[in-house]
Subunit: 668 residues, 2 copies
């Protein structure tokens, strides 16, 4: 049925529209078009279907909502305000896009309770939603009992044409279809307008058919502007399909209600302007003032508070029953929700002495992951189709597949970008799960936009990146990272660790697991490295530490990372034989070192020692920070080359002899 202009539904829907219109107008910045067009589907979803508790945005069993088309965030802020969240009041809406407000230009989970993930970069949100749905499916499979359903929520998404054009959404949605995530329901705001104009100029594919090809259940609501029943029916149908994710294509008019700007790109990303707002008010029969919400509308929407309280109370009862009948599982479930790691989780971390045979750090990573897996049931992850190169398989578990969601080995396929965004979703489900994902280090470039969002949105994802230098050999320059480590060290709030041996690998994982509010990226070698004398889990946590030559002020400091540390150790021995005072510093992580106090930093790298040689099989970009005014670096300032790894390392100067020669040159 169509909405009578003054019906209660119309009042609610237009309240959303005009809050968006007025906020964007006041800010003279923002995107009114999507909120105006998507308000009906959002109203139906939030008013008739979504289970959440405005007074406790963190209630575990809430339905998750993701606005993948994040630029339309005024839609979400309006909904948060109207349904009674404390995080967004009318004053916050009036502060839209202003310094320090809780209503920033795109939704930020770390700023605004009620926002689940950070969206805006297109395609990320729908991929995060796949991760949220995977987290729910996993926890449901692990904890639900035949007579007690503890974990049971939907993940709803509103996405637009832009999200559907981005490759990352295709990657994640293809995997979602494969996994048959029945509780993922995406509403596609099909308004045929993107920033450049009609989608006819660049986007004429059959999106519905593509999602069918992915294995999704697809429906079409032809009139998303006024046919609320059709929207409701479609969501009901979607919920009824339990073995496939659902896409509901909802055809709408961008900027609906604006007589002169509706269905034009002009309404996408700019304020309507005073005249057009007046015209829109007339057109929609809206007699209310700026930021004014009709009492009937507010009263109706605020019923969400009461509903939410009862939803949570009901669930608390379930949890109480669960506690009595499944005490152990309940304790584990609540431990995970609390974010507390299990007692002694780190006890099994392997340690090594120089007597232990050296191996590739990626193999240490495999051993460490499998040492942690039994102690850390929240550890879940996998590789982008490089499982046997990244060595990321957890042996105590099987594959996470349709019907086997309790398993913890995720098979992402060759979908690095989707993988990263999915792991952000798993982390931001905030149920204690610790997601890790893996590919070759050089392919961090494929997923960089997702890694950046891990760092920005405080998602504790662990990035397991193997084949971390030209030392990988034959695959050649397309597969050999050179500038990659530098480019990652540059990302704020991301801890990058390049461990040198077994102890440093254990140390790296200890940091990463404890680092629940930020991502950690660990770079592992393909080739073997020896176990060092002096490395330890504790030292690794300091980011840099003295392996040898701590006693006196050295003539020169050799600073190495990862596979190059052992070259420094061997070179130092021979240099000492020549009477040089040499200190060797292993520096697995800049970020961890910078977090130490000044005294410690000075004790490792005394300012007075300006003769330093950095040895890292990578670009020197950024290393001037530690190189010292009379220092030097054995670095790679070009792309790599295809040849056996040992030879490539030799050709690029990564030999003990060359370290000695370059160190002597520094010493002068």
């Amino acid at each position: 049925m169509a909405v009578a202009t003054q019906s209660l539904e119309a009042l609610c829907i237009n309240s959303i529209r005009f809050l968006a219109i007025d906020a964007v107008e006041k800010a003279k910045s923002g995107h009114p078009g999507l909120p105006m067009g998507a308000a009906p589907m959002a109203f139906v979803l939030w008013d008739k279907f979504m289970r959440f508790n405005p007074k406790n945005p963190n209630w575990f069993n809430r339905d998750r909502f993701v606005l993948s088309a994040g630029h339309g965030c005024m839609l979400q802020y309006a909904l948060l305000y109207l349904t009674g969240y404390d995080s967004v009041g009318l004053d916050d809406i009036k502060q839209f896009r202003q310094w320090g407000s809780r209503t920033p230009g795109h939704p930020e989970n770390f700023e605004t309770p009620g926002v689940e993930v950070t969206t805006g970069p297109l395609g990320q949100g729908i991929a995060n939603a796949v991760g949220l749905a995977m987290a729910e499916a996993h926890l449901a499979a692990r904890f639900n009992q035949s007579d007690c359903t503890l974990v049971d929520h939907y993940t709803y998404v509103i996405l637009g044409d832009g999200c559907n054009m981005e490759g990352v959404s295709g990657e994640a949605c293809s995997l979602a279809g494969h996994l048959g995530l029945g509780k993922l329901i995406a509403l596609y705001d099909d308004n045929h307008i993107s920033i450049d104009g009609s989608t006819d100029i660049s986007f004429t594919e059959d999106v519905a058919k593509r999602f069918e090809a992915y294995g999704w259940h697809v429906q079409h609501v032809e009139d998303g502007n006024t046919d609320l029943d059709a929207i409701a029916k479609a969501i009901e149908n979607a919920k009824a399909v339990t073995d496939k994710p659902s896409l509901i294509k909802v055809t709408t008019t961008i900027g609906y209600g604006s007589p002169n700007k509706a269905n034009t790109p002009g309404v996408h990303g700019a304020a309507l302007g005073t005249d057009e707002i007046i015209a829109t008010r007339e057109n929609l029969g809206w007699s209310y003032g700026d930021f004014e919400v009709p009492e009937d509308a507010l009263n109706h929407m605020r019923k969400a508070v009461e509903r939410g309280a009862s939803y949570e109370a009901e669930w608390e009862e379930t949890l109480a029953t669960y506690r009595t009948q499944y005490a152990e599982a309940a304790a584990e479930f609540e431990r995970m929700l609390s974010g507390k790691l299990p007692e002694g989780w780190a006890d099994g971390l392997p340690t090594f002495t120089p007597a232990d045979k050296g191996t590739a750090t990626r193999k240490h990573s495999q051993a460490t992951l499998n040492a942690l897996a039994p102690a850390l049931p929240e550890l879940i992850g996998g590789s982008a189709d490089l499982t046997h190169s990244n060595l990321t398989e957890i042996k105590v578990s099987g594959d996470f597949q349709l019907g086997q969601y309790e398993n913890r080995n995720l098979r992402f396929g060759v979908r690095e970008h989707g993988m990263g965004a999915i792991c952000n979703g798993i982390a931001l489900h905030n149920s204690g799960l610790i997601p890790y994902c893996a590919t070759f280090l050089v392919f961090a470039d494929y997923m960089r936009a997702a890694i950046r969002l891990s760092a920005l949105s405080e998602a504790g994802v662990i990035y397991v990146m193997t084949h971390d230098s030209v030392g990988l050999g034959e695959d050649g320059p397309t597969h050999q990272p050179v500038e990659t480590v530098a480019s990652l060290r540059a990302i704020p709030n991301l801890t990058v660790i390049r461990p040198a041996d077994g102890n440093e690998v254990s140390g790296a994982y200890k940091i990463a697991v404890e680092n629940r509010k930020a991502p950690t990226l660990i770079a592992f070698t393909r080739q073997n490295v020896p176990n060092l004398d002096g490395s330890s889990i504790e030292n690794t946590a300091k980011g840099a530490y003295v392996l040898s030559g701590a006693e006196e002020t050295p003539d020169i400091i050799l600073i190495g990372t990862g596979s190059e540390v052992s070259l420094c150790v061997d070179a130092a021995e021979q240099l000492r034989a020549d009477g040089k005072k040499v200190r060797v510093v292993s520096m697995p992580s800049w970020e961890l070192f910078e977090a130490q106090d000044q005294a410690y930093k000075e004790s490792v790298l005394p300012k007075s020692v300006t003769k330093r040689l950095v040895v890292e099989a990578a670009s020197s970009f950024g290393w001037c920070r530690y190189m010292g005014s009379e220092g030097d670096m054995i670095s790679i300032e070009r792309f790599g080359a295809s040849a056996p790894g040992d030879l490539v390392m030799e050709k690029f100067g990564y030999t003990v002899d060359n370290v000695i020669a370059r160190a002597k040159a520094v010493l002068g």
Copy 2:
């Protein structure tokens, strides 16, 4: 029909297989599985359809071949050898994956004549192929005459499951379908095996249906192992469909012929081993020695040399006719092929004085692009759906669309990664076209893998990146680059330029247009900046230069880039009023500055002046290189914030007063 084991076809196909098997075995490294499975389709394509001249790999009108599944490069090397290219002899094949060989671990266009683009990172090749096909379509539309067809070739691709899982391929193929690129023909090696095992574990979508949804013509060859006629028929059908790109799904067996490893991941990326090679030889009735090619097979395949000579001769006749009948067009066509820029192409570059009203550098970019467009008909490009924000539209041309391929404005849609890879293809068509593409600077992260390949494969793409700092304002941290510029400066062979005003924008484009063997990335402001006294096109080319205070040795050097240079200029004035000797250096490009001789560099940044203040609205990562031992920087070491741009800049310390205060602190 099936191939009789000893038929000529079988000899040729097995020659490809065993060259791959033997080369990988000798290297003890590589990927035999794909060449063994895809040999039949490759043989049919190269032997019966592809028009190329082995003795002139650069013959303009050749069909382009892209092995998107680049790990299977022994397939391509075998074909190059068998068809008589001088670039790959038997000795080169024996040097597979060895230092300095012309047969590296993945195909590299800059190493091996006959290889069109650099592949290996999955999904890139098919996207490059879309660019190659767009280049052909554009040149055909521009130069072909009703009675004289000068430009007329196909672009063929072999891609695998991995390519089809990557989002970048989806982006590019969706656009290819929209554009109806009828001369793009992709053979999908459907072998159901990826590195992790059967595609059943992660990739069960209906690929054929997805490509139909993109608007492609799709066929299926059910027996790609032996049914050569079906392969040939499918390619014929594909050529007959002129208004849609074609996907031919060719079902094959990976490692075909290996009794124990065929159809397993074990044959994907590892040598077969002596025993299995013996078994495979027996199984395929192959009585020849290592690297031995039956004479009949070589003789047959080498007919490509004669065919190729006649193809080219035929085309040379067409060109001769074209010269006589369309002299002007012919001259222009040949000028473009020669890579020579038009006389006086740069004469129209705008220049400015401080009297000229300041504006955003993105608007200077718009003016410069439109000043160049009429003079540079080879300039072609566009934006990822941000045309009116990036300001990249060429006003002298319309949109490149089906039936209007002569136009130069490309509408990429919200597909940054596909856009970059497509532009690599346009550049590597090597027909003189100069592709540019645009998005917000922060979204360089979405296309970083393509940017890296521009740099590696010597593709002269121009990246037009606007909204280049937190100064963009309200869109907030998801849209505000902080670490982005540093992460790009770290890429070898990429020139990054952040111009400060109109003259520097003109200078940046002059460099970018002349830079045909490497990409250039230019970062532009959203906000207004004044035109500086002392800036010029010539100075910009030096990467850094003195704006003021050149006369004497300064007490302090203020180094600025982009929108922050004017802050340094204003601060310097007041500092001088306080009697300080201040030099202001504008540093639009590190790479261009490093390319200058030592004397020049010393004249701009004398070593003796260690008190320096760098002012750039970005992370300090890497700046220690220029900061000086007593220097400092006004930088941003966190993510940005949503608020009006001027306020954000002020909050982060980008004001004249703060520059003065920080400079005084440095002066002590």
